[in-house]
């Protein structure tokens, strides 16, 4: 049953793969634009230097660090483009979230106008939800920092040498699961907001939290997709490690495929939550407000 549902959510992503490609394209384009100053700087130093061969046929750490130690190639001066690209990408995703979730809720191709209408309609609510999510994610990050510090102390002081490491790894796994759960809550909230055109975000979040807690199967689905993402990432990195250093094109292609898989996995999670919400009955008080395109249940209700 779980497999069926995971598959059906995957089918959603597959059927609407245009979204994956678009997001991937914007992800790549923004990153490329953010990296142009890096290319320009590196070209000035490396393109006419024989020393650059050490970075092509292999990756010599000493050469690379000497490159970064040049005043004109400091990582700090090159970072703003990268950070800027990441922030713009986040805004872009928040902007299209409404459209993407509508597609997954309704499982139909929207016209461009419909897509952006929904995107615009829900943009600020998506931004508010993202801001709310900073709180639990921030707490988790703080917990991770605290536990890592404690684990470091254990690594130094505990009689058992590996205890600190085990605590660190174990806590990271637990925190990752917690992060996945938080994401599930917010994804459910996003889907609910879009389906019901709901404006009371805190009420929706509270409902999503209860729903997430009450649906072990739903979290299991998230876990399954998360594992898929982790496994494909590990496989991709494994393949990349076995490619020769000089095969830059093939290496980047493999890593781009990894990136594509990660993006698809993230959308898969959104599809899982959207589908789950789509199959829930409308709440009595929201039936009146529900848009005309309200979803028809096409599958059994979640247990």
């Amino acid at each position: 049953m779980i497999n069926d549902r995971v598959r059906s959510s995957a089918g959603l992503v597959w059927r609407h793969q245009r979204i994956v490609w678009w997001i991937f394209a914007v992800n790549l384009l923004l990153a490329w634009l953010g990296s142009l100053p890096v290319l320009a700087t590196l070209s000035t130093v490396l393109d006419h230097s024989l020393e650059s061969a050490k970075l092509v046929t292999g990756f010599d750490i000493g050469t690379f660090v000497l490159l970064l130690e040049r005043p004109d190639v400091s990582a700090r001066s090159l970072a703003p483009g990268t950070v800027g690209a990441a922030l713009i990408f986040l805004v872009y995703l928040l902007l299209i979230d409404g459209g993407v979730i509508t597609v997954y809720l309704e499982d139909r191709k929207l016209s461009r106008a419909e897509f952006f209408e929904n995107a615009g309609l829900f943009f600020w609510r998506m931004v508010r939800l993202a801001l709310y999510s900073v709180i639990p994610f921030g707490l988790l990050a703080a917990a991770d920092g605290g536990i890592a510090g404690f684990a470091g102390k254990l690594s130094s002081d505990a009689p058992q040498e590996r205890l600190g490491f085990l605590v660190n790894v174990g806590s990271k796994l637990v925190l990752l699961l917690a992060a996945l759960f938080v994401r599930l809550c917010f994804d459910l909230a996003q889907a609910q907001v879009v389906r019901d055109n709901e404006r009371g975000l805190l009420r929706v979040l509270w409902g999503s939290l209860r729903l997430a807690f009450g649906s072990g199967i739903l979290f299991a689905k998230y876990l399954g997709v998360g594992l898929f993402a982790a496994v494909t990432f590990a496989i991709g990195i494994g393949i990349w490690l076995y490619l020769p250093h000089s095969a830059t094109g093939a290496s980047l292609l493999v890593l781009e495929l990894v990136t594509l898989t990660q993006i698809a996995s993230r959308l898969w999670l959104k599809a899982v939550s959207a589908r789950w919400i789509a199959l829930l009955p409308l709440l009595p008080e929201t039936v009146q407000e529900a848009p005309a395109r309200a979803i028809e249940a096409t599958d059994v209700l979640p247990e």
Partner: protein, 643 residues
């Protein structure tokens, strides 16, 4: 009867050899000091209650009326010079601005001091601070003799002291049950260059002491493993849960020991030109995977030193593997005892266990035998040893892979040295006393890395074998002595048959930096006014390369130019100007030009501007920018977890 006497004599000689901890019967050094120390270690309080009898023989030629002593463990107190400097600038084990931590408290408390034959002089002990005048620093004290000591006479001090060890910091102290006891006893200063040399303990300094003999008896918990400088000469079970272990060492200038109930002992031996040397390793149970790595690196290093520098004259070398959390005890040298460094998860591709063991064994030569003043001339032990590390590690593990050797990335000793040298290249001269360096980065980058790069660069000027020969001669002349920088430079000049003072002046006493670059390069038709089409192999070009000296370090420059007909030329410029133009009229265009084509000038701060190619090759910049793009994509993806 005769046979019996002969056998007894033979056994006595054999016993002497074993007990002496050295294959020599004739002293290798001028034995200035003879220490006899007996102590009881309390593992609960991490204290050692001991009595030291020091016999000092005056070989100085002068009459001595006072004696300075080090009390190194007093450095681990809040107002000490060591801790103040560490708090302000950071230290290997104490983070800058980390504040006082009670676990770092250590002390050497002298309970009584008696000059044998003259009575108790404890009240006359006077703490002095010759380096910074810090009245709260108690790492050096002086004692005036009631009667001056004439040349060739001896004086005996009997000192009752209690050493309290800190949780391991600056190479000494405890971690759980493990103890690394370094700099633990009152140690007399060195009469050097006509004066007492006894510096305070600073955050960036190491040590300096005279050669002599050590007879040490330690009472410890029974069955705890023990390792030390020299050799173990006996163990007595006291029947009360303790044991008393005796050690002897000679022709050494320090004595360190370690104990731990959980270590596993790994023993081996190696046959070298001077005889067989016993190898004793005290391994943490969780680090056994590194024991073969330690052993291979140690044996390889010992063979290389035996071949390149000279024999290791001691009977044993002990390797101590500190426990987790005890890293501050790792990577340290003491005579015939070194501490290593590893973890339970140390990847094979990271050669840290190897280069630490290599480096610390190298100190048996550059510190142990050639006993330079580590306070004032740290480069002479750390730096020369770092050069040897590069040579040995390169020979054993490959020039480009001697530090990191994985599929993902590689790194060699030279690369690591350049990484630490380049950012601090012009901060401090090598000749500066260690405690006067700007900070720890400068101390490390200059003392270790610059010296190694200076000698590697010298190889390019006078040849690798010549440099190694020079070091061999230097070792022969100054083993078991305390050479000064001028002894090193004069010996190198002498051994290599060249006056290299111009080089030493810049590299040791100055902060000159080297950065030669190709400023411009071009190929123009000689008949530039001719409008006829160019013909390959017929048209004559005026090729020129301008080399610009951006740094201040004067070195002759070799330039290699390659042309599109496959020909190559090498030309030399004496480097006595800010720039130089190389020109060729040739029926071919320049393809590339490179200064230092053999990549031997490792002092050069910027290797990227050393060469020029006519055609752009975008592979490296494209590759790095591609990966940067990918990292940006992943950062985007990570942040998008909020959406």
């Amino acid at each position: 009867m005769e046979i019996r006497c002969w056998r007894i004599c033979l056994i006595a000689v054999a016993a002497l050899l074993t007990v002496g901890g050295s294959a020599q019967t004739v002293p290798l050094s001028e034995r200035v000091v003879a220490y006899r120390i007996e102590g009881v270690y309390n593992p609960k309080t991490h204290t050692l209650d001991a009595t030291e009898v020091l016999t000092y023989t005056n070989h100085t030629g002068a009459t001595l009326d006072k004696f300075p002593f080090h009390l190194y463990l007093n450095a681990f107190q809040p107002k000490s010079t060591f801790m103040t400097e560490a708090e302000r600038s950071g230290d290997r084990d104490v983070e800058k601005g980390s504040g006082w931590n009670d676990k770092h408290f250590g002390s050497n408390e002298v309970k009584s001091l008696e000059i044998v034959g003259s009575g108790d002089v404890t009240r006359q002990m006077k703490f002095v601070s010759p380096d910074d005048g810090n009245a709260n620093d108690r790492t050096v004290f002086e004692i005036a003799l009631p009667r001056p000591l004439p040349p060739n006479q001896s004086v005996q001090f009997r000192i009752h002291f209690v050493a309290k060890f800190p949780e391991v910091v600056a190479r000494t102290g405890y971690k759980r049950d493990f103890l690394m006891a370094g700099q633990w006893f009152p140690k007399v200063g060195v009469w050097w260059n006509g004066a007492w040399n006894c510096h305070q303990f600073h955050a960036l300094t190491e040590f300096f002491a005279d050669f002599g003999t050590y007879d040490v008896k330690l009472t410890l918990p029974a069955k705890w493993n023990v390792g030390s400088t020299g050799v173990e000469t006996g163990t007595k079970d006291n029947g009360n849960g303790t044991q008393t272990v005796s050690f002897h060492a000679e022709d050494v200038h320090d004595f360190a020991w370690t104990t731990d109930p959980t270590t596993k002992v790994v023993e081996d031996s190696i046959r070298l030109s001077h005889g067989t040397v016993k190898i004793r390793m005290l391994m943490q149970p969780g680090h056994m995977a590194s024991s073969a790595r330690y052993l291979n690196a140690l044996k390889g290093t010992m063979r290389k030193f035996d071949e390149w520098i000279g024999p290791y004259p001691y009977a044993q070398i002990t390797v101590v593997d500190p426990p987790h959390g005890g890293g501050a005890a790792g990577g340290m040298e003491y005579p015939t005892l070194i501490t290593a460094d590893t973890t339970w998860w140390m990847p094979k591709s990271v050669l840290e266990p190897e280069f630490v063991v290599e480096h610390e064994f190298g100190h048996q030569y550059w510190y142990g035998m050639v006993a330079t003043n580590e306070f004032e001339n740290a480069w002479m032990d750390e730096g020369i040893n770092q050069y040897m590390e590069a040579k040995v590690m390169d020979a054993l593990y490959g020039k480009a892979t001697s530090n990191v050797n994985s599929r993902l990335a590689t790194d060699g000793e030279r690369g690591t040295d350049r990484m630490s040298y380049v950012p601090v290249a012009d901060r401090d001269p090598l000749s500066r006393p260690a405690w006067l360096f700007m900070d720890g980065s400068s101390y490390g980058g200059i003392t270790y890395a610059k010296t190694a790069l200076m000698l590697l660069t010298l190889e390019n000027l006078i040849g690798e074998k010549t440099v190694l020969h020079g070091l061999q001669v230097y070792f022969d002349r100054y083993k078991f002595k305390h050479p000064a920088p001028t002894d090193f430079t004069a010996t190198m000049n002498d051994a290599t048959g060249q006056n290299l003072d111009w080089y030493w002046k810049q590299a040791i006493y100055g902060t000159e930096t080297l950065d030669d670059r190709i400023l411009t390069a071009s190929s123009e038709r000689v008949d530039w006014y001719n409008k006829a089409e160019e013909k390959k192999g017929v048209t004559v070009y005026y090729n020129e390369v301008t080399v610009d000296r951006r740094g201040t370090f004067d070195l002759p420059v070799v330039l290699e130019a390659k042309f599109d007909d496959g020909s190559t030329v090498r030309e030399r410029w004496d480097g006595k100007d800010r720039w130089h133009r190389f020109t060729w009229e040739h029926k071919a265009k320049l393809v590339s030009a490179e200064v230092d084509p053999d990549h031997g000038y490792l002092l050069d701060r910027d290797p990227f501007n050393n060469s020029w190619t006519a055609t752009a090759n975008r592979k490296a910049s494209g590759k790095l920018a591609g990966y940067w793009t990918l990292l940006t994509q992943w950062l985007e993806q990570t942040l998008s977890w909020l959406a």
